[in-house]
């Protein structure tokens, strides 16, 4: 910026030119020490300046984000496997309150079933795995929901949503959005600062997953429960019935799997090791940690 000296090389403000090392440092120094950040330290450990010397680089992802990310990843995979097992006992979908093999389906999946009563066109029946699948599905759902609550509450008080996920107003313009989309379509490498923050598409996607898809899959899951339906009938009626809830549950799963695939693909494309390191240790790469 102002002529290159050894200082600029050691403390790059605008990112070094090397394509691999493009992470500017965000030294956490000027954080106002208020009650919230002190409380945050007590609850989540030292994530703010009050407990960390100013030379330490602030982690890319806070402890809460990293821990809840991996717990929910495990839960999601367990929910997915058990959900598929439950699904193949009746791979037909309906709209409304009730539906069975004697009523016309909304659509059916062209797969074999684990029940002989379902006409699939296949000459065989898959083994029944519903028992453990249902136990695992609900246990993982509990773990995911409780972990998700910890995440939402902590993230709210840490300012995670405001700082990291809420898009800036300027980025929400057509110009802002189209710039990022064009950047992706042209497969231009990410700008250096993007390793330390999310672009507007990422922010919108994460907000959609956290505040729309997750609540919707929990809601439709609960709406299928006969006991919950008895206590909260409106929660079922709004969805159009218990079979509608099951159908929506399936489509939200498809969207979440799509998100997972794109998410993992982007992690691979933008540097698998660095991104994984950042989500496990909080630091993107050792040579970026301290200079």
């Amino acid at each position: 910026m102002f002529g290159r000296s050894w200082r600029d090389l050691r403390f790059p403000k605008s990112g070094p030119k090397r394509p691999k090392a493009r992470l500017p440092h965000r030294v956490h120094s000027a954080c106002p020490i208020g009650t919230i950040s002190q409380m945050a330290d007590l609850v989540w450990g030292s994530t703010s300046a009050s407990a960390v010397p100013a030379t330490t680089v602030r982690p890319r992802h806070s402890v809460v984000v990293r821990a809840t990310h991996w717990i929910i990843t495990l839960c999601f995979l367990a929910l997915l496997v058990s959900g598929v097992e439950i699904l193949i006992s009746h791979p037909r979908f309906y709209w409304g309150e009730a539906g069975n093999v004697r009523t016309p389906p909304l659509f059916k999946l062209p797969i074999p079933a684990s029940r002989a009563t379902v006409p699939t066109g296949y000459g065989y029946v898959l083994p029944d795995q519903n028992g453990w699948s249902r136990y695992l599905h609900f246990q993982s759902a509990w773990a995911a929901v409780l972990t998700g609550l910890v995440y939402v509450v902590c993230a709210f008080f840490q300012g995670h949503f405001r700082q990291n996920l809420l898009p800036a107003r300027a980025d929400l313009s057509w110009r802002g959005l189209s710039t990022v989309i064009a950047q992706h379509l042209q497969r231009r490498p990410a700008r250096p600062e993007e390793a330390w923050s999310y672009n507007v598409l990422q922010r919108l996607t994460y907000l959609l997953v956290i505040f729309v898809l997750f609540p919707l899959i929990i809601w439709t899951g609960l709406a299928m429960s006969p006991a919950i339906a008895s206590a909260f009938p409106a929660a079922v009626a709004v969805l159009g019935g218990q079979q509608s809830a099951r159908t929506i549950h399936f489509f939200v799963t498809v969207l979440l799997v799509l998100f997972l695939l794109v998410h993992v693909a982007m992690v691979c494309l933008t540097g698998f090791r660095n991104r994984m390191r950042a989500m496990i240790t909080g630091r993107p790469a050792p040579d970026m940690e301290r200079v």
Binding site: E97, Q139, M224, R246
Partner: protein
């Protein structure tokens, strides 16, 4: 972060102690209020206990949704059952006149009712949703005696906590807690969709528990046992379902 401060150690210690104490207290309370299901041990015990406890707190008195006659599924779907045994076929040949429902256990007046007697009891009819754990469902009208009325007639003792019910079919038995047993919509059903209960749907007698999945609505019931503990029944897991790998509580 390699730095471990004293405050961090103290905080972690306090949180861990509070957590452990809280969990122990919660388990004690849950036990006291009967919020732990009989299959609440083992690998999936925590999830089952959370589900059962949460639903018992939220749905103890809630009524299953009832539908309009126009919403009754035409035709309904009868799930397949194992081939019906000789005893059943003999009773069926006699138009079920000799079918009896025996009630025993923790009751003041052990009894055995014929179908005619059961049909003379006050009846309730309701149009409810029957959902199978597999994912399909149908809406049907069910006619029968509220189980709570039978418990009144036989004088269930105050300490009773569960009702165990058995099918004439071997190894087909289930149990429900008193919240479901005394629930006004839990029926000993002998009719369906305005007529007799068809054999395919559990006729002549089926327990109908509309706030739980279909597998709790056991077909061809012949015996009710009222008890304060499920430990002595089968492998002590509450019913045949957990012995076959399925959850005892099927409110979800």
């Amino acid at each position: 972060m390699s730095r471990i401060s004293r405050r961090k150690i103290i905080t972690t210690g306090l949180v861990a102690t509070a957590g452990a104490t809280g969990l122990a207290a919660a388990a004690k309370l849950a036990q006291h209020y009967g919020l732990i299901p009989p299959d609440g041990g083992g690998l999936y015990g925590p999830g089952e206990t959370l589900t059962y406890a949460a639903q018992r707190i939220l749905t103890r008195h809630s009524l299953a949704r009832e539908f309009n006659p126009s919403q009754v599924s035409q035709p309904p779907f009868a799930n397949e059952v194992a081939p019906l045994g000789d005893t059943f076929q003999r009773l069926r040949a006699g138009a079920f006149t000799n079918w009896r429902l025996t009630v025993d256990g923790m009751i003041a007046r052990p009894a055995s009712f014929s179908l005619v007697e059961l049909k003379s009891f006050p009846r309730r009819s309701q149009i409810t949703h029957l959902a199978c754990e597999e994912g399909w469902s149908y809406i049907g009208e069910w006619i029968g005696v509220p189980l709570s009325h039978i418990l009144d007639v036989v004088g269930a003792l105050p300490q009773s906590r569960y009702v165990v019910y058995r099918s004439i079919q071997p190894d087909w038995w289930e149990s429900i807690d008193m919240a479901d047993a005394l629930h006004p919509q839990t029926l000993v059903a002998h009719g369906m969709n305005g007529g007799e209960l068809p054999v395919a749907f559990g006729g002549p007698l089926r327990l109908r528990v509309p706030r739980q999945l279909g597998y709790k609505s056991v077909k061809y019931i012949t015996r009710l046992t009222i008890t304060d503990s499920l430990k002595r029944f089968g492998r002590g897991l509450g019913s045949a379902a957990p012995e076959g790998g399925y959850a005892w509580y099927a409110g979800i």
